[in-house]
Assembly symmetry: C2
Homo-oligomer: 225 residues x 2
Amino acid sequence: MVMPAKARTDRSTVTRERILDAAERLFAEHGVYAVSNRTVAEEAGQGNTAVVGYHFGTKTDLVRAIAARHAEQVEQRRTEMVDAVEGSADVRDWINALVRPGAEYLAESGEPTWHARFSAQVMTDPALREIMSDDALTSPALRRIVDGLNACLPTLPLEVRLERADMGRHLMVQMLAERERALAEGSPTPRATWSDAATGLVDALVGLWLAPTTAPVTAPTKETT
Amino acid sequence: MVMPAKARTDRSTVTRERILDAAERLFAEHGVYAVSNRTVAEEAGQGNTAVVGYHFGTKTDLVRAIAARHAEQVEQRRTEMVDAVEGSADVRDWINALVRPGAEYLAESGEPTWHARFSAQVMTDPALREIMSDDALTSPALRRIVDGLNACLPTLPLEVRLERADMGRHLMVQMLAERERALAEGSPTPRATWSDAATGLVDALVGLWLAPTTAPVTAPTKETT
């Protein structure tokens, strides 16, 4: 019997989602490169171990697909928060818009989650990190946050702003992953909820952005004439 | 002809060092799990590809050996800096003692370096991260820095101190790795030298540690009676 096209598509969508879920979970717990496509297929309940390659191509493509699922969700919340603080001259408003969407998304995903640990690994891996950088560069809401922070701090030298934007990105991703790992392991966490963890991050990042700067000892490198 | 014991030992030491150098470089550039023992052996100029396992056992043991080489060097500088600021009530003194030893070690290693990128990956990998945590927990100088910061900030709630100590650790490792990667790729860096990069980190971390705290909305979880 030939399946109707609609049923085939539905089944294919379900299989894809199962693979993405299984891969994210395994990658978070064991590391992206420690896990084979075969293991992902088995964990996703697929008899045919070639199914991962069939649906997603290379491991990099699979990682990109997992990252994209979350990026959309977080971007939507971020856009709403940025709309709400548009024009604000308060650093804290912009830092809230940076930190809270990701933390809220984790809170609403219900326990356990895996994508914070997944994201932290992808961001640090030499071969995969561009996936996260691409997302960061193409997110209109993130660009608006950077612009908003710059407008609050017009006297901060450009190189310090670039540096602190990078610090904020790393701190957010790594600290959310730390908390997710502690929850998964049943270890104590400094904060009771994702929302409180976000408050801790916002407090710290406001301090980081407002910190006075010491002039560098070395002048920036220039072309010798 | 039988080699004298001394010559055998020397040759074995040279081989071990070559393997550690090759492994660190390959891990930094391609990722710890993307690189096989065979590739490490070839890069180290060893005809026998079993040599890595023979000298270092598992990949985890190899990673631990690479981490230990740097840990000793950095710990020595850290101890000197901590001795110099003992008793200080200035947060900046302690943050300097936290940040500068690693940055100075990178500066003195000469370009190119690989261990900042290596460390960032190990710290994020689910299977390897304990190697870095063990080091952090057993470093007497790091413990003295945490104690020194706590003494400067007696009113900061304990959970915030734990949180900010974690933030400092992540920020330092990830930002040094970012700079090392930019240097390796010939991309622009916000700062001209490792010392200036350290100044940027110290400024930011002083702000982070001194930032006012917002009381959490949720009370810490307690056992219900």
